[in-house]
Symmetry: C2
Subunit: 377 residues, 2 copies
Amino acid sequence: MALLMQEDTRFGLDRKIRLLGPVRLDSGAEFVPVDIAYETYGALNADKSNAILICHALTGDQYVASTHPMTGKDGWWTRMVGPGKPIDPARHCIISINVMGSCMGSSGPASIDPTTGAAYAMGFPVITIPDMVRAQALLLDHLGIETLEAVVGGSMGGMQALSWAALYPERVKSAVVIASTARHSAQNIAFHEVGRQAIMADPRWNNGAYYGHEAPSSGLAVARMAAHITYLSEAGLTEKFGRRLQNRDAKSFGFDADFQVESYLRYQGLSFVDRFDANSYLYITRAMDYFDLAEPHDGVLAKAFARTKTRFCLISFDSDWLYPTAESRRIVHALNAAGAAVSFVELSSPFGHDAFLLEAPEMNRIVDGFLRAGEQS
Amino acid sequence: MALLMQEDTRFGLDRKIRLLGPVRLDSGAEFVPVDIAYETYGALNADKSNAILICHALTGDQYVASTHPMTGKDGWWTRMVGPGKPIDPARHCIISINVMGSCMGSSGPASIDPTTGAAYAMGFPVITIPDMVRAQALLLDHLGIETLEAVVGGSMGGMQALSWAALYPERVKSAVVIASTARHSAQNIAFHEVGRQAIMADPRWNNGAYYGHEAPSSGLAVARMAAHITYLSEAGLTEKFGRRLQNRDAKSFGFDADFQVESYLRYQGLSFVDRFDANSYLYITRAMDYFDLAEPHDGVLAKAFARTKTRFCLISFDSDWLYPTAESRRIVHALNAAGAAVSFVELSSPFGHDAFLLEAPEMNRIVDGFLRAGEQS
């Protein structure tokens, strides 16, 4: 992927740009230069008022509605983004940015540090969700987009949407926050720590300096497996797999994947390592664990939105135990206290946290209605 | 620890015996010889009617009320077992047996296979919860105990108690089943599979043949960490740790254990590997995953208790999401359908699955009342 600096290639697919930055990081450091990989769908209108930023989740990427170059799979949110969908390139200029710290083209631990000519590895700075948002704002500056019609995200994407509204209240007209939270709980941190320890326990991790050698795939696969359980509900797992065996009713009395759920989890782990960098997994989970929007405001979440002009739409799913409805409700209470316009719905789904990525007609109707109302105002 | 065959040493502490067996295993194999390590507290009365068997959980052992020889810690259930407690050596002959497959003296993968002179390792047969119970029955035969006043267990101990009542209805007068289930759910299996994969991903695991070499401690620690999260409730973790940092309010912006919950989990992982064998963890989790009391009865749990004469006491905890109350209720319904005498209480606790190991005066009152009523009948 070439570094594209030409103005006429700012919009379209497979964009990557190097911005001089700097991004001022929450750690106090400054980061330069900043590579940003992104996709756009649809054209920016004359008054530049139709831009919608889609923020991706932990292991997501910029390929929200276009084919993933490594897996060959469709974009990860074609149910929400595309012709005739709530977020529609015929109406919107849709921008999707690979987050800083990730591994699909934006600056991350696998990127080459221009000062050394080698991968940053663990020399990459520890970043936060607001840091990711600051890097995204640099790209919007470059694209000449001052105000977003909306910023939309599920899970970690929702954390970015909330951070956008908190950091740049004048730049965000609407925010859609799905299956998300304003802070990582002790249990959230605990699960991520298991994943990190699994990666770091893999001798091939080698303190992060594995580029050019075998990657710590075993550890990363275990991390993915543990995380994947948190994306599904207990009832959903029971419905999908129950205690069904791979090989009809013959238990192997061994340690192969006897149960379908074991085989499914192993597949999730193994297929993940082909498309994701273990160090990125460390950095992004760290950013999520550090996330607590209220923390810089004496623990009072409403203060994070004191200057807000954004209208908000929050959606949670009743079977999501990773970021349960109570976390969305806490955000709604804070937004109410801050005097923000906010609508909130808890949807029913058997699919747990992953519900936001699946077919959910109600979710689509809500997002569609919310965005159209914003366009008319 | 010597093999004790003398009749006069059958009762007391630090007992270990080799029985000729065989144990007929659910896999179809026969296992001989069977080493059984156990502890007893209190004396068997003249008519041998006061024996209570305590069954331990996944990582438990026979040291229910005596000092653990490796950790130097008190027994794991001194809140329930001991002078003045519901299970009292002044009144009961208390027997606690290390389960087959474990690593505290009973036959397990770390034991020496007498036919080869080397550790069984993965040559140890895959066993089930009923297999563990069959081995325990051999010991009771040896001790001359035909009928148990009660069999008592929490978590996997409860699975054994249920299996005792199902396999040997005439030998079990009362059964106390706490925080347990009659089958492992898809989510239960999934978490265990993560743990097994973490162990097997550790190169030092070496297909189980690590005895005499370095053990796969990193993998086992990760397995323990993942499992430990399931033992605690989300609310309990929040109450105990929240987002509190190790180092007051200074985030390290690195990958050390910044949050107290990370440090706690790491400690749980590291301290576990000193006292537990990784292969035993594989075998016992497999036994738990295979556990489904209804399976041999066309999926009808009540049929497992068709011949029951046992009276049952079931206790669940409202914050236990590993074996939630619904699983206890399912057992109660089956016991009702089988015409068994059963009492059931859901207790309130913030501590999740681990609640049964902690101070729980209500639980103690219930067990005490249930056992005393049984003694008077």
